[in-house]
Amino acid sequence: MFAACADPKAIEGLTWAMCYLTSGKHVDFYWSFVTVLALLAITAPVAMALGFGGAMAARSHITPIRWFGKAYTAMVRGVPDIVYFLFFVIALDQGIEYLNHLRVCEDLSQPVFRGLEFHVCPEAKVPPASASPFVNQLYGFGLAVITFAIVFGAFVANVIFGAMQAVPRAQLETGEAYGMSQRQVFRRILVPQMWTYALPGLTNLWMILIKATPLLFLLSVKDIVYYARELGGTKTQAYDYPHPDWRLFYFLGLLVFYLAMTKISEIVLTRISNRLSKGQATAAGEAMRKAAI
């Protein structure tokens, strides 16, 4: 990056540290923080949508849809998320390619699963074999987002389902008394009122989501844990910047990052929670009313 860094083995002291911390690999490391933040930013709304859908399905009057919704919400109750991460991505990748295979391939006579091998025609590969490494990384990132969203969508569905049940029955009955249809009651009363009950759970889920990101490396995304391990390990003279085992320091850096993320989230979410509690017939709303007097 800098001219002084042309020959890393000859420099030392502060210059060495500066060159070391700005090496190409470190720049990748810094970018991986952006990757993690981007994943959080994209996963949260997708998981919300999935969770909302799941909760609606679980309340459906049509039996198969209800079963599906119930099964989805029950999915995360018993099984560690790490287990999903370990085989979801390959399954998802194969599923996408299989669908594509049925769509674009001309010769469908060959079986797709041959023993342990998985075969689709070259045109059906997602992303195509000629894609640049960047596209491949993007695809891997997309798979990780979907995996995270499915697992966390199930958590969200649990919370939202509970919140919908918690909305006082009287409020819904009032809506019905005004002559609203089921659909109108759902849209105009149940959903707006639900948020205040769902927020504590959703807040907590956001915290869980942040803390699940170190498992990203399981999904073949080069995240901060991957780089912290890679950069911290002992480096022999084969590398430009040899150094002993520094993993402890890199991981302490990650610890600080996560604690900061938690703190910032807490501050922001408390504000949102206060806004939502305004004028609600809950303990928090009551406390605010009293404080205002």
Partner: protein, 240 residues
């Protein structure tokens, strides 16, 4: 002028067409000097140079990717890349599920690296990377196997005294021994396991295997493979 431009465009297009087959190569990126991610963030090492040369000789366009050692074979079978060049020893177990090219590195010598010359490698705690042939060997040897997910952690375990020795490819361990100022020494006899290191391929990819085999044969014949080994292993690697 216009014609010349057109001609070059056509030439470029046909050239692009001829090398349209892109082969994706996967490696672990944590096993110097075989393969590692250098400080620029690129795949480097013996296998990088070798792979590039093989692709050149076989007229293939190759791209590199890295994958965790744990899931490197399932992802090959799932078609996420076409070949594994990751210091993978050819074993019967692996040959059942994937195909291997001709070996591009002779049967490796594995060795014990310990913190003292009198370390008890027969019954003591010996570290090895999980799911390697060395880990299987230690499990059978009577020593207590201590498993780590990355090779780097196995050497760290000897340094901090968690294990009396680490058992791994001698070529991987040699730089650690050389640069430790005598703190780490090789103990016991070298052990030859596996039948060399080869490129891992899907069993159905016979065409690609043939291309790789031809390229490797030609590199063995003109001695360029030995030159690469010399260059990357500090003159101490095994040669053909």
């Amino acid at each position: 002028m216009k014609k010349l431009l057109l001609a070059t465009v056509v030439l470029a297009m046909t050239a692009g067409f001829a090398s349209a087959q892109v082969v994706r190569l996967a490696t672990e990126g944590a096993y110097p000097p075989f393969n590692f991610i250098n400080d620029k963030g690129e795949v480097a090492g013996f296998e990088r140079e070798l792979g590039d040369e093989i692709c050149k000789r076989a007229a293939l366009e190759c791209t590199w990717t890295t994958n965790e050692w744990d899931s490197i074979i399932p992802n090959l079978q799932s078609g996420n890349y076409d070949a594994i060049i990751a210091g993978m020893s050819i074993t019967d177990e692996r040959s059942k599920v994937i195909a291997f090219s001709d070996n591009y590195y002779p049967p490796t010598a594995s060795a014990y690296l310990a913190a003292s010359a009198d370390a008890d490698i027969k019954t003591g705690v010996v570290a090895a990377q999980v799911s390697t042939i060395q880990a299987a060997y230690v499990a059978e040897s009577g020593a207590t196997l201590l498993e780590f997910p990355t090779p780097d952690e196995t050497v760290a375990a000897v340094r901090n005294g968690e294990a009396v020795a680490v058992f791994a490819d001698k070529d991987y361990l040699r730089p650690f021994a050389d640069e430790s100022n005598g703190a780490l020494v090789f103990v016991g006899e070298d052990v030859a396991i596996g039948s060399g290191i080869g490129i891992g391929l899907r069993q159905s990819d016979t065409e690609l295997k043939a291309k790789f085999d031809t390229a490797i044969k030609s590199m063995k014949a003109d001695g360029s493979i030995n030159a690469l080994i010399d260059k990357n292993f500090g003159g101490k690697g095994l040669k053909f």
